[in-house]
Amino acid sequence: MKEKKNVRGKIFATVAIGLVLIIVILGLLQRLVMPKYMGEVKEGALIGEYYDENKDFDVVFIGDCEVYENFVPAVLWENYGINSYIRGSAQQLIWQSYYLAEETLTYETPDVIVFNVLALQYNEPQKEAYNRMTIDGMRWSPSKVGSIQASMMEDENFIEYVFPLLRYHDRWSALEKEDFTYLFGAEKVGHNGYYMQVGIEPVEYIPEGRRLGDYSFGDNAWSYMDKMVALCEEKGVELVLIKAPSLYPEWYDEWDVQVEEYAAEHNLKYINFLECTEEIGLDYSTDTYDAGLHLNLYGAVKLTDYFGEYLVTECGLEDRRREEALAAEWEVKLERFYEQKEELEALEEEK
C-alpha cells in the first residue's frame, strides 16, 4: 500500500515537474519570438513603457502617431512645469484610445486628457500588425480585454493575444540578434511616450486627398467618442480634442465641421492645429522629417510650446517644477532626452 502511494507520488511529481518545465520553455519561447520593436519599427515598444512611470501626470495624450511624433513632454516640463505622458501607438484606433484612457484612469487621474481626432476616420479594425503594436504592450486588465475584442480582425483569435506564442510562433525562422539581446527586457524607446525624430525632409508636394462618397464618421467611431467623453466626465478629467498639424493624410473640412459641432455640443475644447501653423511658427521646410506627415523634433518643440501656453491659460494647469521629487525625476529624463538628441543629430550629420 505504502509502495503504491510512493509510486503514485513519483508519477505525480514527474508529471508536475514536466509540466512546469514545458510551461517555462513555452514562456521563454514566447518571449523569444515576440517582436521586440528595437529595430527599424520602434513604435511598438511605446505602449508598454507607461507602466514603469510614477503615474502622476497632469496631461495624458492619447492617440496615434500624430501625438507621439508631434508633442514633446520634455518641453512641457521645461517650459511650463507640466508633467505629461503620451499613450500613443501607430494607427491607434479610437476604441484602442478609449480603452487606453480607461486603463490610464485606473492608475491616475490627470487634469487633462488630450485626444487626437484623426482616428475618427476609422470605423472598423484596419490592420493586425497595428492592433498588435497597441495591444501587446498593455498589461492585462478589463481594458485590454475590451480593446482586443473591439480591435480583432476577422482572422484574429482572442487566444492569440492571451498566448502571443500562438501568433508569433512562425517567427522562429526569422529571429534576429535583437530578439536574443532583448529577450529579458527592452531598451527605453520613448521620452514619456514621445518618439524622437531629428531628420529633415521638407514638404515639396502635398498629395491631394481623394474625394470621399460620404464624409460622415462612422457610428462605431462616434460611439467610442461618446464613451470617452462620458469616461472623462465621470472621472472629472477635462477632455481636449486636437487635430495635429500633419499635412497629410488629408483632414477634410467636412470632418473638421463634424468635430467642431461635436465639441460644441459636448462643451469640449477643440483645436485644429492645422489652422494655426503660422502662429505656432511651423516651417514645413525644416520642421518635418517625412515631408509633412509628421513633425520632427524641431517642429514638435514649437507645437508643444504653443500647446503648453494653451494648457496653462485655457486649462489652468499649474507649474510643478518646484516639486522636488518630480523635478529630480525629470532631471534624469531630460539628461537622457538631450543625450539622445545629440546622438541622433550626430547620426543625421553623418548622413
Binding site: L26, E128, H169, W172
Partner: protein
Amino acid sequence: MLFTSYRFLAFLLVLFVLYYVIPKKTQWMLLLVASYVFYAFAGWEYFIFMGITTLSTYGAGLLIDRNHSRQKAYLAEHKAELSKEEKKAYKEKQKNKRFAIMVVCLVLNFGILAVLKYTNFMIANINGVLEMTGSDKVLAFQDLILPLGISFYTFQSMGYLIDIHRGKYGAQKNVLKFALFVSFFPQLIQGPISRYDDLEKGLFGQHAFDWHTVSFGLQRILWGYFKKLVIADRMLIGVNAIIGDTESFTGFYVFLGMLFYALQLYADFTGGIDITIGIAQVLGIKMQENFNRPYFSKGIKEYWRRWHISLGAWFTDYLFYPISVCKPMLKVSKWSRKLLGEQVGKRVPVYAASIAVWFVTGIWHGAAWNFIVWGLGNCFFIMLSQECEPLYEKFHNRFAVKEKMWFKAFQIGRTFLLMSSLRMLDCYRDVPMTFRMFGSMFTDWNIGEVLSTGIWNLGLGLHDYIVLLIGIVILLTVSLVGRRGSVRDKIASKPMWVSMAVFGGMFIAVILFGAYGMGYDASQFIYNQF
C-alpha cells in the same frame, strides 16, 4: 468547426471534463449533444439530410429486425403445421419484404447522396455531350449544398442497415442512440467508416476515468496534430505552388510535387484519423484503425488493404461480394466459363465486380472524371498484377530474391511510386492535364534547375525544408518502430520522464513549428471534401 481551430480544442476540453463529471449512464447523451453541437457549426440546414438518414435507417432497421423476429416466432409457432415447402415459401416472402424495405432505404439515402454530390457532374457531362453534338442548349448548374460528412455517415448508416438485413445483429431500438451512431463527431468528417457492432459497446457503455486510456488518447491526438500541422500543412505550400502553375512547373517539378503530395496526403489523412481515434480513446471508445503503414506495402493490393482500411472493407463487404454472388453475375460466370474456359472464365465475375467497386470508389472520392480514372487506374493495376502472378512466380523460382532486403525495398519503392503517380489525378484540374504533366516528367529534363534554384521558388524556405525533413524522419522512425508493437506502449514502459520529454517535446514542436495561424490559410483535412 475545423479540427485545427482553437474553438475545436476548447470544445474538446469542455467535453472531456464534462464527460467524466456527469453520471456515467448519461455519457452517451452528452456525446449526442456534443456531436450535434459540432454539426450545427457546419450549418443548421445540414441537419435535414442527416435527420432523413438517421430516421429512415432507424425505421428501416427496426422494420427489418421485427420482420426477422416475426418470422422466427411464426416458424416456431407453426413448426408442426407447415410443410417444408410452405416454410420455404413463407421465408422467401418475408425475405422479399425485408429486401424491399432495405432497397427503399438504400435508394433514398444513396439517392440523396447522388443528387447532392453528382448532379452538377452529370450536368457538366450532359453539357459536354450537347456541345459535341453542336447543340446550343446548355443545362444550368444547380446550387446544391453538400452536407458535412454526408459520404461518411451515409456509408456508415447503410452498412448498418445491410448488416441488420443480413441478420448480423439486432436493430438499435433507441432512436437517440442510433442518432449518436450516425453523428458521432470525431469520425463524421473523415471516417473511419465504423461498423455498428464495433462501436456499440464503446458508444453506449459507461466509462470511468482511466489515466492510462486518457493519456494514451491525448498522446494520439498530439501525434495527429504533429502530422497535420507540422508536416502536411507545411508540405501543402509546396504542393499548391507546383500544381497551381502548370506552365512553369513541369518535368522534375511534377515529380517533386507528386512526392510532396504523397507525403502531404499521408500526413494529413493519417493525422486526422489519429486525432479521431485519439478523441474516441480519451472518451473510452475504441475505434478501428484505418491505416497500417501503407507506404511499406510491397504491392498495390496489399496497399489497399492498408490504406483507408474501413472504406476498402466497406466496399468489399457491401459491394464486391454482393455483386460477385448476385444471380445475374452467377449467370455471367457460368456463361463465361463455358465460353472462355475454366481458367479465364472464372475471373470474369471477379473482374466485373472489381471494376464496379473501383468505379464507385473513384466517384466516392469526388464528382469528377479525375477520380473515376483514378479508381479505374487502381483497378487496372490490380488486375494486371494478378494476371502477372504466373510470371512473378517463374521469376521467383528462377531467382531467389524474394526474401532479400533490397528486393523488398524495390517492391516498396515501386508500389509507392505507382500509387503516387495515380494520385496525381487528385491534384490537377482534369485528366488530360494530369497526363500532360505526368508525361512532362519524362520529357522535360530540368532536374538540375529544380535542385539548384527551383526548390526555392515553391514558397518554402530552408527552414521549411529542415522542418519537413525532420518531421518525415520522425514519421518514418515511428512507422518502423511501430511494426514491432505500439510505440506508445514502448514509450510508456520507459521511466516516466521519457514520456514527458517525448510528448512535451512534441507539444512544443507542434506549437512552434506548426503551419497555423496568421499567414497560413486554415486548412481543412483533405478527406473532408469526400
